[in-house]
Amino acid sequence: MRPPFASPLLRDAVLVAGIAGVLAFPFVGLLLTTQGTAPTLSARFPEFAGAVVLIFFGRLGISAARRGHILFPIVLGVVMATVGAFSLLFETTGMAADSAAPWHAFVPGTFLATVASAGGVAIAVVAGRNHLLRDSVPVARKPLPMKQLLLWTGVALAGVAIVLPLLPAVDRRLIDVATLVLTYVMLGWGLNIVVGLAGLLDLGYVAFYAVGAYSYALLSVTFGWSFWVCLPLAGALAALFGILLGFPVLRLRGDYLAIVTLGFGEMIRIILLNWYDFTNGPDGISNIGRPSFFGFQFAAKPAEGTESFHTLFGIAYDPVHRLIFLYYLILALALLTNAFTLRIRRLPVGRAWEALREDEIACRSLGVNPRNTKLSAFAIGAMFAGFAGSFFATRQGFVSPESFTFIESAILVAIVVLGGMGSQIGVAVAAIILVGLPEYFRELQEYRMLAFGMGMVLIMLWRPGGLLTHREPTIRTRSQPASA
């Protein structure tokens, strides 16, 4: 029996189109252009309306097809495809120039026209297939294996990240933004160990980032040691700070821990600000050693008797080489963090972190030492922040307390929580959304933070548990026990 065509479909489509309208308005409906020096906003009403109408019909068709309607979605799909195709034809052949064709108003732009025609065909095909399958016995569809899906998403993301700087369309600005995003991904993964796995709400994570950055800066400026020597030292110092700070506070729980760590984060920043003799106070430390390609500098004119990167490879000097090298450096550091986390989850200490987050009393009664276990999570998380900090210092060539304010900690906690508390891919996606996208809205200035806040609210509304809540078990099915 075919369910009667019902108004829930309409209501659903209106709702979805409404949401799309709200979302599309700033992105599609407004166009920011620069005339002379003053940026001006202009409305793009046809595109905006076209997008919303398209989404309305598309949603109507999709849900009708899903509910087993046949005739209606086929007709709708065919109409959509036809309108889209015609519009595309006019658009590309230039006949649209006179704008006389009425359908042009409905499907403006090649992009929307393409979506309309492809979507229409898809809806019609799905509905048609439903018709053919109508009398066959329904087969339980296998749920998408989450593990596979996540694995391939991860591999795809890593693949994109690896080839990104080599793509021809990629410019300095994109590499810069990508490097920034990767720094946050790495920090997010580091904090994920503390917050996501061990369940310790640390609002002062930026302190360890600062310790790493200043350790690197001071070691490099004072002793002239190279990046590769200072990196492990900075990580070790940050871990040491993690233990020192963690020792007194880790007996606190939940809210109290959060407040105290917040205080510690600010304390570190204020010490950096006021200990003028050691840290140079608000002026910061400059002339920090830039990273070298295993001893070969990225310099246009290498110092007497040394070779630099471009002469080593016999290529022309290009400042972008250093940017690309920095990009790969942070990518490698981030992937190292990820590999470490994935591995340690399978080891007893990582498992104890997760168990401790779930139930501390049970952990005690099973022989887990909660203090040491929490300290280890805190220290290891801090160590990765230290690595990221030294990367930050070498990339900027300059550090000052201003870079380590509470807002950084807050953004990182947001990335971990919105990413799904413990999901590695979730953290990466959240970092891209929360850090990468706002970078592209730099022109909007203060409104950028508004976009950030709106992104957070939307994620909370739609995915209250975080983007990815799936938790991959660390141990898989063993063979059935050989029972008689």
Binding site: I361, G367, R478
Partner: protein, 240 residues
């Protein structure tokens, strides 16, 4: 022979409240000993005190001829005492197998695969649900998981706090049968707290009655079952 566990004159406080007021209990190797008592008598407190959380303020706890009164919980557990605390307390987001892995913390030398095989023999339903997360198990299954998890470390002494809590009568009987089986096949000593006094006293070799933080009665399971005071207070209408 000295008992495996000897609790003498133990007093435990929560702040100013004295929850245990000089408790003496002995559990010999290979025994099943039951502790019954009304709500708030201090039964759970006694089990927790044996594990050092909270620590006794006075008295002595000896396990396997060692004074463990001042040991930390994790060190006590490593000596071979496993505990399933009150209220199951399995790890809800972790799978059955991962929960069992956590049981191995106290004794990393125990053969984990063998332990899992044994657990699934005792509780076949856990074997079917091995990759399911603990929080999605039924209450009874969670109770089984808590017991199985405690057994992974192959403890000498198993402390159980109300293993039949919230279980249907048939499932409760099944749990008691499994406890007897564990005790007989591997010689594990069991000290259990129960509200289900009738079944617990039938299962055990000896039993204690705790009231207001003090032991008021002790004897074999049979003796306590016959005792009019016990019948009046704890067996009113149960079973018989």
């Amino acid at each position: 022979m000295t008992p495996l566990l000897k609790v003498s004159g133990v007093r435990t406080f929560y702040g100013a409240i004295e929850a245990l007021r000089g408790v003496d209990i002995e559990v010999a190797e290979g025994e099943i000993v039951t502790l019954i008592g009304s709500n708030g008598a201090g039964k759970s407190t006694l089990l927790m005190t044996i594990c050092g959380n909270p620590q006794a303020r006075a008295g002595e706890i000896r396990f396997a001829d060692r004074d463990i009164t001042r040991f930390r919980t994790w060190d006590i557990v490593r000596l071979g005492i496993a505990q399933t605390p009150e209220g199951r307390r399995i790890f809800p987001r972790m799978t059955v197998l991962e929960n069992l892995q956590m049981g191995a913390v106290a004794n990393p030398d125990a053969d984990f695969d063998d332990g899992v095989r044994r657990a699934f023999e005792l509780f076949p339903v856990l074997g079917q649900r091995r990759n399911q997360s603990g929080g999605t198990l039924s209450g009874g299954e969670q109770q089984m998981l808590a017991i199985a998890r405690a057994l992974i470390s192959r403890p000498k002494l198993l402390l159980l706090d109300e293993p039949s809590l919230g279980l249907a009568p048939r499932l409760a009987r099944q749990i008691f049968a499994v406890l007897r089986e564990i005790n007989q096949s591997s010689g594990t000593t069991i000290f259990l707290v129960e509200q289900n006094a009738y079944h617990a006293l039938r299962l055990c070799h000896r039993g204690y009655v705790l009231a207001n933080g003090m032991v008021t009665l002790e004897g074999t399971g049979g003796e306590l079952l016959e005792n009019p005071a016990v019948q009046a207070a704890y067996l009113g209408g149960t079973g018989q």
